[in-house]
Symmetry: D2
């Protein structure tokens, strides 16, 4: 069965007047001969202008992935129906007009990742709008307000996890975000919560996964005497720190680094890795295949 | 006008018995609508098995690049003729069966890059055969012989550059190599010599170009007090250290590094960068566009 | 002759009550036998607690550098006099109590480096206070005010360089800063201006110096087809982009990067490199030797 | 109690005629006031020429580490006795004249690390001599002989581990090496074997430890979908892949990498990391503190 999904565009009047919208087509299906020829044929006959095209075949699973960007005045439902006809059973096709995505950011007390997102948001550095920030502490409330962004303090004290998550969920849903960003949100989300947002939650973990899963990775790294530390941005699924990895990066350390030095240096990596992962996700460049990502970069 | 070029395969009997050859198709032409659809259509109708496909449009010059790998029993001339028909005027198409390339390596006195190539050659780590090594000194003759490879000592003393290059050219041509590798060959080749091997000479330069062009880059780096040094593998064209860059890499240094420390650390980068560039070139993953490379990696 | 310089500490009452101040001693002199023994002897006899000690001998110039940190209740003038006695002619010794440094930041229109500094300033991430921001445009005025920091708009239009710099100098001197930070300030400062702040101006240059000196380094990098781009933080002296380098870092790029992609990726490197350099400078870890730095890290 | 250890120098006649030997002094003791002053005082009064001096205090364990290099004509026993007098109880002091170290290398079937060592050995690129190579297969016998180095084939088939290790030990001891190098030796050594060579066995592990401990790390990395892979050189102690880490390095990978691509790219990192670690160890720049290393680089 072919799953189709059309994401509505929200262009300003000016943009649509000036030029046709830009679309991203993401396809994920069993590999077979002639797929590229037939998919590009549908687009060619529609007269759209293909601006980029990337394919990848995961030979181990015989799975075909394709990302195409094109520009043109089209009927989205119709073009998807035609693409569906040339794809094999089990295919997923997703067509979306390029638009500003909506984000809700979850934080605890550390500011560096949130600051990175708020600054980029304010200067339009990625194609998104931060609709709100939710924190289980109020530490970052004033800072968030400096950027004119809503802050919701949802404390977890004296609540069951279910109860706390229900409150967060209620706030999140008010904003109908495309993605949730865990910007150093230091509480574990339950599978029930996560299930509401499949491949829509991006987390930054402060270690080079799968090394140092869990709590206090910098302390773990210090104890082990590693010479490199890192950070990992990944989608969140049911298991702790186990979702598909989007971006990783590292920096060298040495014996002179205390745990606190590692934390401080690590912050620079964390925020850059999170920002980079988010940019890829917002530009629809990341496909998920099992517990891995295909990054069309 | 479309330029066609068929590189003859040289498969062993066993290989051709067992399976169809693998081909690489490289296309470089003005961009226009429908190219991917039409090129993949030719391959689809021939019934070959496309194993990889990469495209790139250089928007600044409106130029389309494509690299396709496929497997099948084909008539090479015929398939190229059909591809030519769907390409615009000014296109270049190059079809070659995957095969072991022949290399001639030029050296002076330093062994680290040569050693890297000889070891990889001996253990079949890249798809090439080092047919011979030529040196303007005899320093590396015994070392080359340890690996059972021919060494030609062509001294440059008391000769004009023309005369010396004519002697080298004579030796090179005896081996009919696909590529020349300058593995720390410390003499500048004349435009006349270089013109015999367009995009077929790969050089390793011991700096992060375009910083420190010319002689003694490590001394220059030391004097300038840089905190990072690097190496650059590039195709050689008429101008000194000015050809299309294929691979670059760097390593950190600090104030404790003497010129000699930089040279020693730099060697590790140089040999890895050269080996990596050569691997890409041997796998036909590098297209040249003006003074730049498109690396389909 | 020995140059002595005592930088006054400005500890809060609470700190001085609780514990002795921490000092940094930086020495730069011709090398001779026994220096470490004699310098540490002075400190030992004063009964201070040495917490760190680093030495470096630049053999090419026979020059000895030492950085010592210690804690104790001392008479600063007296201890410096005693250290002076054991140092050779031509020595420079600088003793300073660890304290918050004052910064004035110069900007033009780009926000990423300024944002990095303002966020770190607000959360006390480095030991400094941004006293004011000066811009030759008003683009970043509102943004600076969000952080509660003074902004001075000093436009350069219709003014001679001398006149414009005199106005900037007047504003700067009002704040009596320890360091000036050029956070993407896009105008060249005259030698006359620079002479007021020897080794006190830190600039971020948006290339891996000495590659791409001058204007539009990303355009230059694009045209050259490099595979790595970088950023350089350095002290400013008389010559354009020629001062002692403090920190450099790089990121890989490829043929798919437009000039604008390079600029965007480059910004992440620029701000991290500037923040790192500033941290080292603020912690008195950087000694200058001719056109190079000794970084005691 | 102070442990003293004098390693005998083996200078050629020419060297000792020309100049005094160079010594490395490594000290590891509880921290206390005045250590640097007193240790350098001993050296100063002996009239030797100190060429380098590095200290590190591990505050978490209140432990002082110092590495000093000096040149001079000294009585080694006498100078060590004097240094011992100024050190606290529990100190370790190790004085050794700089000399060529002897290595025995253990391998299985992969050549890249061995090749790196043999080439450096032949061209004198590190201050060591490879006395012999021991393999549990004969795969690399011919290759080792190309470099004129002894190869011992000690097969493990149909033997208990004790028996096999006893045979290896017998061969190793014949050569009286300073260090054993496990250059992709794919069998686990027993604690009993390891106990013969405390901090004298250097291993290269083909992952960025502590990620992917144990077998098939590249397969593990592939399954986890990491975006960076690495290699770790470490001393071997009782526990599998758990010894003090000396050097680590990494390279980026992406979804297009098969397990075999990762292995191939990983090899470049492995050999460079091993060579770098070995260079540090041979130059006596590595002190061991519990399960960590202090690298005086």
């Amino acid at each position: 069965m072919v799953t189709l999904q059309v994401l509505k565009a929200c262009f300003t009047r000016t943009q649509t007047k000036m030029q046709h919208p830009v679309y991203t087509l993401l396809i994920d299906c069993p590999d077979q001969k002639g797929l590229v020829h037939q998919i590009t044929g549908v687009l060619y006959r529609q007269g759209v202008n293909v601006t980029g095209n990337q394919e990848f075949v995961e030979h181990e699973y015989n799975r075909f992935f394709m990302r195409t960007t094109f520009q043109g005045g089209i009927n989205e439902e119709e073009i998807l129906k035609k693409i569906r006809k040339v794809l094999p059973v089990g295919a997923q096709a997703r067509l979306s007009a390029v638009r500003k995505k909506r984000l809700v950011v979850l934080v605890t007390k550390e500011q560096h990742c949130l600051a990175e997102l708020l600054v980029r948001n304010q200067f339009g550095e990625f194609n998104a709008e931060i609709a709100a920030v939710i924190g289980n502490h109020d530490t970052l409330e004033r800072f968030t307000h400096q950027f004119g962004v809503n802050y919701h303090h949802v404390p977890h004290e004296n609540k069951t996890r279910e109860c706390h998550e229900a409150e967060i969920l209620e706030v999140v849903q008010r904003y109908r975000p495309d993605f949730l960003v865990l910007a150093k949100y230091m509480r574990i989300l339950s599978p029930a919560f996560v299930a509401h947002f499949p491949n829509q939650i991006v987390n930054i973990h402060h270690s080079f996964l799968p090394a140092f899963i869990g709590a206090n990775p910098y302390r773990q790294a210090y104890e082990r005497g590693v010479k490199i530390i890192g950070a990992t941005a990944h989608f969140v699924n049911n298991d702790l720190d186990e979702g598909p990895i989007i971006v990783q990066n590292v920096i060298p350390v040495d014996h002179t680094y205390s745990v606190s030095d590692m934390m401080q240096s690590g912050r620079d990596v964390e925020k850059i890795v999170l920002a980079r992962a988010l940019k890829l996700v917002l530009e629809e460049k990341v496909a998920v295949s099992g517990n891995k990502t295909i990054v069309f970069d």
